[in-house]
Symmetry: C2
């Protein structure tokens, strides 16, 4: 394999030069490749770049930090998807005492722990599989877990491959009904967060759809679009928070997890949704 | 030609499906392609996407609108590069009475007028070449024009292909000395603006370099990064403006040119430079 061709938008693909293939396998759920690229060790699922050594922290902080700051407390966290577990480790660093990490793809999680230089090591994953520490990994369907659990959480985080226009097993985890199920698991002051697509105008369809759904389901919706990573995230609370950005900025100063790629100005600038996204509610 | 392969960053290219080639020629200065893609009629110079029918307005408004709002008056405008002239037309719509448009590549400007459904029509270009109306086109070297002219301007806009890491004739128009020459042409309250690269972390080298130069040369530097177009622009004034964003927001309400893709919230959010760009001055 010399290149990975990633679909970006109609008539447009992004090609990654592959310098070395570390893993190329078909799991029960996806085609998984871990390879060295110009961005270091990189993970691709079904040809979509999931994360790279160079940029993963920017991605994960944009996903997790606003949630850590927007939740009134962060004791109990649920993570659906996410494979390599960086956000689980951030939650623990922030002070969470329970992080339930549910992933449908056991092979993917194990391969990530083995090959990616971020997230769980193999030892940490073995601990998390035993469930004796704060992080507890289970290999089950996130949809079924959320539908049936009696646990409650301060953060419910869904980090999956991008929603597809076409049929895909993980599309079930993107609907308004699914968001309502996530919301039902929140403790007071809790937050539902997901990876919601890209803000760029030639590939913003799923972001706009996600924005509409969050606004349908939650009384407070916060947005964070990473200007350095072309990816956007949505955060919902069941109750009304007058100024979520001001709240996040205030809490950043004393946060247990101190980000490397986000400061107060980044929170202010990147929490304003793009014009076309805002207009989509009109 | 079935695809155009655009370099994005080390080890990464973006491939455009070409549905129909309208022009494929080597001018005296560049390899120019005008083709139909999924984004409509699109212009590529040396394989770099310059503009597309679908996204050009978002690009041009992000480049021009902050300059129109930041300048204390907009009577006399100088545009270097820019080929198809959309920003010249915006300046006239905003109220400018003189727009000097200097482009080194006569063939490119004529081909754009003939084939692109935005910017000058052939008739408008013929008028602008005569120089009898507000827009006056001259096919000369922008560097030499700026070095030698005795004219003064409210806006000096430089819109060129992206600065190259390697040797390229247009790199002359990206240095701090060139910015100082542009600054010397400003009338009081005037603005120098240029297209300054991409904010995404795997291709932000030229943006960071441009940010450092603008801060070296100007007492006020404003930033606008288009969250919908992955492209960033810098604006410099010779004098001190305490809060450029507040000034732009205030002036937007009554601006002669009313943008379709920028509102007050977009100005607030997108005028905060990315974290890594800000940190580059430390």
């Amino acid at each position: 394999m010399n290149t990975i061709n990633e679909p970006l938008a109609d008539g447009m693909t992004r090609h990654w030069r592959v310098d070395e293939v570390l893993v190329d396998t078909k799991t029960d759920f996806q085609h998984l490749v871990i390879a060295r690229t110009a961005q270091g060790v990189s993970l691709f699922c079904d040809n979509d770049r999931q994360s790279t050594e160079f940029s993963q922290l920017t991605y994960h902080e944009a996903l997790m930090v606003p949630a850590l700051l927007l939740a009134d407390q962060v004791e109990r966290v649920l993570v659906i998807g996410s494979s390599e577990g960086v956000v689980c480790q951030m939650a623990v660093q922030h002070g969470a005492s329970v992080v339930d990490h549910i992933d449908i793809d056991e092979q993917a999680v194990k391969l990530c722990a083995e090959h990616l230089p971020y997230g769980y090591t193999l030892d940490e994953l073995a601990e998390a599989e035993k469930g004796t520490g704060p992080i507890r990994v289970q290999y089950i369907d996130g949809f079924e877990y959320i539908r049936t659990t009696s646990e409650k959480y301060d953060i419910v985080l869904v980090d999956l491959p991008d929603e597809r226009e076409e049929e895909a097993q993980h599309n079930r985890l993107y609907g308004a009904d699914f968001l309502r199920m996530c919301k039902a698991l929140l403790r007071p002051g809790g937050v539902v967060v997901n990876q919601s697509g890209c803000q760029t105008m030639w590939r913003n369809t799923t972001l706009i759809r996600s924005w509409q759904r969050f606004n349908e389901v939650f009384d407070t919706v916060a947005y964070y679009g990473s200007d350095e990573h072309e990816w956007a995230y949505l955060f919902g609370r069941a109750d009304v928070v007058e100024d979520p950005t001001a709240l996040m900025v205030e809490r950043l100063k004393t946060a247990g997890y101190q980000p490397e790629s986000i400061d107060d100005l980044a929170l202010v600038g990147n929490s304003i949704p793009p014009y076309r996204v805002r207009q989509s509610l009109a």
